[in-house]
């Protein structure tokens, strides 16, 4: 079922937690909300659930205005970061509780609980209490409690953040599978951009109570609308260095650097202060011409498959990742090249992208 938010606002006393959020989630989509801690992701999710009153704006679920309705009249299911399993109920009772509240009869509850438990591999645990489960099992029960209800909307608030790294990766895939099988509409909060990129159809990047940018994961990666999104999406983060447009308007120079100019993919007014962004994975070692500059190896790390090279370029730090091993010593000079098409340019003042202004991608997701 689609969810539509129109000019949604949330105030906590004098604190303005959500500042006019417009968002449309088409039915069946998996939407991830990402952003730094405190940006309002949980708040937004909780207003959709009905756990926080909406200060202004409207919220529609499946076309119906539910702005002022209590959670129980919205038919949403939520998986909490802490799982929030009722400690005084068994797994089966936890999962069947919502059905019991809807006065389904016992056999129906048992049947639906069984089906959900089978989906998640929980059959053997139905008689246990939450305290008798491992973290991963609790997480599954929390999911089970959501899916037995067959709700219009699933809401997840960092559901994987309490799991260890391996299980987290495994659950990512499973969660996405589940979403597809149930043909559900899901809103998923995470502060882990990899989770968002790998799981979601549509990613919403939030910052200080606003939506900074939204779109398909790779669109955000390719065309970040601002320095903030550029720094947030992608790992390691994009290198962003101050530079100034050359008198020709077709190239820029890193501030403080003597080396050659970086050619720009478009024309800008000469002398304009800008920020130049380059993803670590778009940098390469280069011997011959093209866009390139000089750096000095400052630090080097390798995971075996990937080598992280930290460089000093005009006394600024920069990171480069290479998918191969590298035999260099600290202090070695290095020439770095890149494809001018991979260069991101942001206005120094507004930090808005100057590239996306030129060929803005279609804003996916707005109805």
């Amino acid at each position: 079922m689609q969810i539509t938010l129109d000019g949604l606002q949330k105030h906590y006393g004098t604190y303005h937690a959500l500042k006019s959020i417009d968002l449309a989630v088409p039915a069946g989509q998996f939407v991830a909300l990402v952003g730094p801690s405190g940006c309002g992701k949980s708040t937004l999710l909780r207003t959709i659930a009905g756990l926080e009153a909406i200060s202004a704006g409207t919220l529609r679920i499946a076309g119906e205005d539910v702005t002022r309705r209590p959670p129980r009249q919205r038919d949403v299911a939520m998986v909490f970061q802490s799982y929030a399993l009722y400690p005084h109920m068994t797994v089966a009772e936890n999962m069947g509780y919502a059905l019991k509240l809807r006065r389904l009869n016992r056999t129906d509850i048992a049947r639906r609980t069984q089906v959900a438990a089978a989906t998640l591999g929980l059959e053997a645990l139905l008689g246990r209490y939450p305290r008798e489960l491992s973290g991963g099992q609790r997480q599954r029960v929390a999911m089970g409690r959501a899916i037995v209800r067959d709700p219009k909307v699933f809401l997840f608030d960092e559901p994987l953040s309490n799991l260890d790294a391996a299980l987290r990766v495994h659950m990512r895939g499973e969660l996405r599978d589940l979403h597809d099988r149930l043909a559900a509409t899901s809103v998923y909060v995470t502060h882990d951009q990899i989770e968002a990129m790998t799981m979601a159809d549509h990613v919403v990047v939030m910052r200080a109570g606003r939506i900074e940018q939204q779109g398909r994961p790779l669109d955000l990666y390719d065309r970040p609308a601002s320095r903030f999104v550029a720094g947030f999406i992608g790992s390691p983060a994009m290198n962003i260095l101050p530079g100034t447009v050359d008198p020709s308007g077709r190239a820029a120079r890193l501030d403080g650097a003597e080396g050659p100019l970086l050619s720009l993919p478009m024309l800008l007014e000469p002398g304009r202060p800008v920020l130049l962004g380059l993803r670590p994975e778009h940098l390469r070692l280069s011997q011959e011409g093209g866009a390139r500059f000089d750096g000095v190896v400052d630090h080097i790390e390798s995971t075996g498959s990937t080598t992280f090279v930290k460089l000093k370029v005009a006394s600024q730090a920069m990171v480069m990742t290479l998918a191969r091993r590298l035999d260099v010593t600290l202090g070695d000079p290095m020439q770095i090249g890149f494809d001018p098409a991979d260069l991101h340019i942001f206005d120094r003042e507004s930090e808005a992208s100057l590239v996306t202004q030129r060929d803005a991608p279609p804003r996916a997701g707005r109805a």
């Binding site: 209590p70 129980r72 009249q73 005084h88 109920m89 509780y97 809807r102 006065r103 219009k152």
Partner: protein, 326 residues
């Protein structure tokens, strides 16, 4: 510890108004704000608040009013009584026994609080050690705390009896005081008799709070100090005491408050006598009101004492605030 889901009967209230969840209900009705909105909080709080205003705050204000009025047997049933300004205060404070009662109150509180604290601390430290049964024994001390005060007063009065009390005999056997002390009837000792009983009553509470405070001190602090070569006394002085400062502060205020609430022991042991030698303010106030029907006098003392208690309680709240922040 666990109750099964079947025994609770969820949904009775919710379900009656929970239609098909897709059915459209519009705005929250008045009834719904009490079920779902802020109205519920307000309603729940108001139950307590209104009750305490009517039966707690109003009486205090009424005491203040009466302390400014002429209230006696004849005007007791009247709604409006003649105002006398501060005459009651002047009258009460210039009575011959006023100074004595004030002194007794001070001695009673100071001795009680100090002894409870020292003994409670010693006991808490002792039972803090790890030995079989420590927890259970510590808990048993609380048995004294839940006893009706009047019964405790009766027991102590019997134990401190002059002629055949067990305390006197114990003092004689141990040669601490070979002659009999007439604890309750000797004006020189009557206040101390009640104080002893009150110390006994207050020890468990002190011990409990101090145990909690002690348990909250991280063990590795002691281990670190031990590695630095600090002996037990030095560890107590440099770790235990400073770490317990907040607890001690809160505890002293609470003990003062509880000691000022003590009434039953006086009623059970000495009735404030002989000749007011063991009378304290909270008992005197009651005596004036209910034994001599000098309700204005009783109210006047009550106002003064309530001011003291509220002052101490404010200090207590301040100290706990501080604890949370620091």
């Amino acid at each position: 510890m666990k109750i099964s889901g079947q025994t609770s009967r969820p949904g009775r209230i919710a379900v009656s108004a929970l239609p098909d969840p897709t059915a459209s209900t519009m705005r929250l009705s008045v009834f719904d704000t009490f079920r779902d909105g802020r109205g519920l909080d307000a309603l729940l709080v108001l139950l307590t608040l209104v009750y305490l205003i009517v039966f707690g705050l109003a009486p205090i204000l009424y005491t203040v009013l009466m302390s400014l009025q002429q209230v006696d047997m004849f005007t007791l049933g009247d709604f409006s009584r003649p105002f006398v300004g501060f005459a009651n205060y002047v009258d009460v404070l210039t009575r011959p026994e006023a100074g004595m009662v004030a002194r007794h109150t001070l001695v009673f509180v100071a001795l009680s609080v100090a002894c409870q604290l020292v003994l409670g601390f010693a006991l808490a430290l002792f039972f803090q050690q790890d030995f079989p049964g420590a927890g259970i024994m510590r808990g048993l001390f609380l048995a004294a705390w839940i006893m009706p005060g009047l019964v405790v007063g009766g027991i102590w009065r019997w134990m401190l009896a002059g002629d055949n009390g067990v305390v006197n005999s114990l003092l004689a056997v141990t040669h601490l005081h070979p002659t009999k002390i007439f604890w309750m009837s000797d004006p020189a000792t009557s206040l101390y008799a009640v104080t002893i009983a009150n110390i006994w009553l207050g020890i468990p509470f002190n011990m409990l709070l101090l145990s909690v405070g002690l348990a909250a001190i991280p063990k590795d602090l002691y281990e670190a100090a031990q590695l630095d070569g600090a002996g037990p006394v030095e560890r107590f002085r440099s770790i235990t005491l400073p770490m317990m400062r907040a607890t001690l502060g809160a505890l002293v205020s609470l003990s003062v408050i509880f000691t000022l609430q003590q009434f039953d022991l006086f009623a059970g042991m000495t009735q404030g006598g002989p000749s007011n030698s063991s009378n304290v303010a909270q008992f005197w106030s009651w005596q004036l009101s209910f034994q001599t029907y000098d309700i204005a006098g009783g109210s006047t003392i009550a106002v003064l004492m309530i001011a003291v208690v509220i002052g101490v309680a404010t200090l207590y709240v301040r100290s706990t605030r501080h604890e949370q922040i620091g």
